[in-house]
Amino acid sequence: MFEAFRKHSFSHGIHPPTHKELTKGLEIKRLPFADELIILLSQHLGAPAKAIVNAGQEVVRGEPIAEAGGFVSVPMHAPASGIITKIDLCKNMRGEKTPAIYLKPYSGASQDVLYGADQDIEHMESKAVIQAVQNTGVVGLGGAAFPTHVKLAVPEGTSIDTVIGNGCECEPYLTTDHRVMVEHAKDIVHGMKVVMKAVGAKQGIIGLEDNKPDAVQSLTEAAVDEPTIRVQALPTKYPQGAEKMLTKAILNREIPSGGLPSEVGVAVFNVATLAQIGELLPRQQGLIERVVTITGPGVKRPGNYIMALGTPLQFILDHVGVDKEVSQIILGGPMMGPVLATMDVPLTKGVTGILVLRTQDIHKPGKVYPCIKCGSCIDACPMHLNPSRLGMLARAEQYEPMSEDYHLMDCFECGCCSYVCPANIPLVQQFRIAKGIIRERKAKSA
């Protein structure tokens, strides 16, 4: 048993405090509709969606309100029955103003969801399944928000033998995937079957960390009649939820540098994504809501809440109650999540959690020393890079050697190096800047 465990992991990584006890035992609760919902047309990677409604038009909950703007794009659906008030610019989480549909829900409406005819997925062609998934508007719900159907279209010349369900949720504080796995295990298994069929995979493995035994149990029970789907518990370690780490941990395969998981016969989907596919696809429904963990010492009623997409952040925080001393709001987990600069942003498909910290909870960076070459970052980097050397090169603004000789572009910014650095060097922060500069230079010279 121990031998089995030891094999199923990746090398390096860190063990930050998980802080999950705040919300991991709390059932998913529903948040009411806000007075106004703002549906950003670009809340996924790829081309923005195109609005197909006009101001003043009445819509029914679940009705398409925007169509996909291309293959790498998804449609949007009305998160509530109500009236379109305007189509205007709205700030997104990064502070940029992008087009959005403003919707005023009818308070007295029944809020029944509009959905289509039942589809028999078992007998659908792979192409039809991909189209059906695009129609639901599902994107990667683990945070990346990459349109899911694009991953289902396997590149020519490659074949996928294994679909991995990613239930690791290795970021501290977050428990959305955990609760979805406990409460919607059947949907996950069903979604896994749909995806396996679409990509033609022989087996499906749901990988999750062993600090969620209740989720392991519920998934195992849900998959008991599925001989091709199994559940794999993995030793808890950050950043196991990264596609590359999880593929290594479960199958001992390495996704080649700069390549896609399909090159090693693998497709990885977040469990919440699988759950939505499993739930929405059979009745041709659109994605209109998601589960978000709202947590942190600054929240009065932390929990896992399901809420309409487009719900303004201020409404969410007012509803759960926040401390007066709040001074930092992080979107997602504390290892990779960005900090919000404004409250005037709506919920999008890729938000996994909202972490609220008070002034006293914020890690104050200590004195920055020169690198003492302790090697902690090298032992932590899951990509086996040399952050110590990269950091010195970044200080010297030697960007070319960083990418050419020291593989900077393979860094996926998990933050392990900065977390462990005893000299308080902001390593991953420097790498982000360096990557930006390198990309800019490449674009200019191209």
Partner: protein, 354 residues
């Protein structure tokens, strides 16, 4: 709307940080060195105590004043100067004149550390830079040994300890003879073996417990080993360095011993004599002057272990740890360059550029 008036702090992720800091690592090294110091004082008395205190204070003072004069904040609160001072004292003969120790301490900080840019930039272990200087400048004083655990070591200093600054210490032979220590020849186990008419092998138990002549803090191998293991357990020391260094020393000396077990000492003797243990645990493991990647660390450690034994067995000196480590320090940037870790998902060959 409760927080409209609050100041929101904007930082980039990660928003968490681990417990280890430069200060905590350095402080733990100091803790780990204290038992070694305590044993040194037990074995060699007030002279050793005065030497350790002098070297440490001069290191701190030098670093503090150098920072003040160059208009920077003092850097002595990172504890690294204390480590340098203690380590330097531990590598010197216990009755070493204090003024010479002070000169060494001054040089370790200035020449060994600040000249390169301070913490994080030194190429060599600062304490060993100073010791190499002292060995060249004061060849007699640095090979003048006094017996361990003699009676009266807590009631007075060895005569050479309080030598007037910038004068040569008087020989201690008469003083040592007056102590009435049986069979003390004024030589360390290593020189007894190397330069004795027939090689003398010191009892292994005496070597392990440290009841032998030698540098102030190098004699009790077992205590040094335990203190090093503490740091390894706290993950504040690179375990691969002592493992590679001691392992290679045993292998190399083992090969010589198998070839000729009369002229060459046994690996056990090699392992527990001289400064090998202190060097492996506390000198070669200086983070700044050793490689960072695992493969490079193995090479570095093994190289030092090998060179140490070669100097001891074939060279002109009885002890080779210091020069071996300094050589390893000098090579470590080169080793680093050639031992970059293989990255996750590395492609066999970089794609031909279009």
């Amino acid at each position: 709307m409760s927080m409209r008036g609050n100041i929101m702090e904007l930082r980039t992720s990660p928003h968490l940080h681990g417990q280890k800091t430069v200060e905590s690592i350095m402080l733990n090294v100091v803790w780990a060195l204290l038992p070694v110091c305590a044993y040194s004082v037990y074995a060699f008395g007030l002279s050793a105590l005065a030497l350790i205190v002098t070297c440490t204070l001069v290191c701190l003072l030098t670093e503090h004043l150098a920072c003040k004069w160059s208009g920077k904040d003092t850097s002595i609160n990172d504890y690294s100067a204390i480590i340098t001072g203690i380590l330097l004292a531990l590598t010197l003969p216990p009755a070493f004149p204090l003024w010479m120790g002070a000169v060494g301490a001054f040089l370790s900080i200035t020449l060994g550390k600040l000249l390169f840019g301070g913490i994080g930039f030194n190429v060599f272990n600062p304490a060993l830079v100073a010791r190499a200087f002292l060995q060249a400048a004061f060849p007699v004083a640095i090979t003048t040994w006094t017996p361990a655990c003699y009676v009266g070591r807590f009631s007075g200093f060895a005569p050479s300890t309080l030598t007037f600054p910038f004068t040569t210490p008087r020989p201690v032979t008469d003083w040592v003879a007056g102590l009435g220590v049986d069979g003390f020849s004024g030589a360390t186990p290593l020189s007894l073996f190397k330069f004795g008419e027939t090689p003398v092998v010191t009892d292994t138990m005496a070597l392990i417990t440290g009841n032998v002549a030698g540098s102030a803090g190098e004699t009790s191998a077992i205590l040094i080993l335990l203190c090093g293991l503490y740091l390894i357990a706290r993950k504040m020391m690179e375990w691969r360095i002592p493992a590679a260094m001691l392992g290679m020393a045993v292998l190399t000396s083992g090969a010589f011993y198998l070839y000729d077990n009369v002229s060459y000492p046994s690996p056990v003797f090699v392992l527990f004599s001289g400064g090998l243990m202190l060097g492996a645990m506390f000198m070669a493991t200086d983070m700044v002057s050793s490689p960072v990647a695992p493969l490079g660390i193995w090479i570095y450690g093994a190289l030092i272990g090998f060179i140490t034994v070669i100097i001891r067995l074939l060279g002109g000196l009885p002890e080779g740890v210091m020069y071996a480590i300094l050589l390893g320090n000098a090579l470590s940037p080169l080793i680093d360059t050639f031992t970059q870790p293989r990255i996750y998902g590395a492609r066999k060959k970089a794609k031909a550029e279009g």
